[in-house]
């Protein structure tokens, strides 16, 4: 990312920059993650069209995986609905946070356009938005998100189709390593968040969630987020008082 020259960028230019940022690594990593989902979906008995539709319409990994595993277990449609909703409930907070980070209110978009925009939100694009926020002026962050998340979406769809037919061709050891990329990549992005309170939240949430999982199951994500996030903001505001420093 070149940030030195203060040349005013236009929205189409920033979309192109965002697409190139996505092509540096995250788009391939996400494609690999979706390929991983497609292999699970195929084992669960999905045909290729169901697999593609699930990736495209749900576009949220934990919910997709919950769907495929319940489907293979023959669960009722009601259970599938509840489990997927639970697994992707985190979208609520991510959408609010993403709308805030890209200063969506500046653009005065009608409701349906905001909804369509957020349909493309994924963990990767959310994490990159936090990085872009420190680099580009606020009115360009929405076009940045558009360029970035559409590129990711395209690679996610390619990855899904690829993964459905791929497992026969790629040795499982290599596939494991490829699928390992996305969680590590995003973890590195969020662990270096600019605000200390957010870094602390990553630490708390990351420690709490696996500890809560054996007891709380799918609820552990929500619990870890609420407890970890609340502890982090409480420490930041009332004990460390980081918000009084210039940096934030």
């Amino acid at each position: 990312m070149s940030t030195s020259e203060p040349v005013a960028l236009t929205a189409p230019q920033i979309r192109r920059i965002a697409a190139i940022d996505a092509l540096r690594a995250p788009a391939y990593a996400l494609g690999a993650t979706m390929a991983g989902f497609a292999t699970i979906a195929r084992e669960a008995g999905f045909d290729v069209w169901m697999t593609i539709s699930t990736s495209a319409l749900v576009w949220g990994m934990p919910g997709q995986v919950a769907f495929a595993s319940l489907y293979s277990a023959g669960a009722s449609l009601f259970i599938i609905f509840v489990a997927v909703s639970l697994a992707n409930m985190r979208m609520l907070l991510m959408v609010v946070s993403a709308a805030d980070m890209m200063h969506l209110h500046l653009h005065q978009l009608p409701l349906w356009r905001r909804v369509v925009l957020m349909q493309f939100l994924a963990i990767t694009s959310w994490a990159h938005l936090a990085v872009a926020k420190g680099t580009y002026p606020r009115h360009l962050l929405m076009p940045y998100f558009q360029g970035f998340s559409l590129t990711l979406f395209a690679f996610g769809m390619f990855g899904t189709v690829f993964g459905y037919f791929l497992p026969d061709m790629v040795p499982p050891d290599l596939l494991q390593i490829i699928i390992f990329i996305t969680p590590i990549y995003i973890f590195l992005l969020i662990a270096t968040a600019r605000q200390k309170a957010n870094r602390l939240a990553v630490l708390f949430g990351g420690l709490l969630c696996p500890l809560l999982y054996p007891m709380a199951g799918e609820w552990s994500i929500l619990l870890a987020g609420m407890i970890g996030g609340t502890l982090a903001i409480a420490y930041a505001r009332y004990i460390a008082k980081w918000h009084l420093q210039q940096d934030v």
Partner: protein
């Protein structure tokens, strides 16, 4: 393999889509109600960070699919290496490579 008919299967896909869409929609509506730069918005942000970190740690500690064939020690070693490289170098692609290579080495050597 599954006991679902054609229409049941597609209804399941639609229900899964709706189950995710409701949260995105609620998020869009809620976002317009919370003032920017407010303490409440800071709180929402820390919760979002904690939640995403939680999702990632679940993928690493309790993986599904192909990744489940690797050992927990392999995955955690890869994560720790990546984070350590990031703290030292501040360069994401380099740190990512360190983490992935350590994971690959750990898979095959230990």
């Amino acid at each position: 393999m599954s006991e679902y008919g054609f229409w049941d299967s597609w209804l399941a896909v639609i229900l899964a889509a709706i189950g995710t869409f409701i949260w995105r929609f609620a998020g869009v509506v809620l976002a317009s109600k919370i003032p920017p730069h407010s303490p409440l918005m800071d709180w929402v942000n820390t919760m979002a960070y904690a939640m995403v970190a939680g999702v990632l740690m679940l993928m690493l500690v309790y993986p599904t699919g192909i990744l489940a064939a690797s050992g927990l020690d392999d995955r955690l070693l890869g994560l720790v290496t990546g984070v350590a490289a990031m703290m030292l170098s501040k360069r994401i692609i380099l740190s990512l490579l360190c983490g992935i290579l350590m994971f690959a080495a750990s898979l095959h050597l230990f």
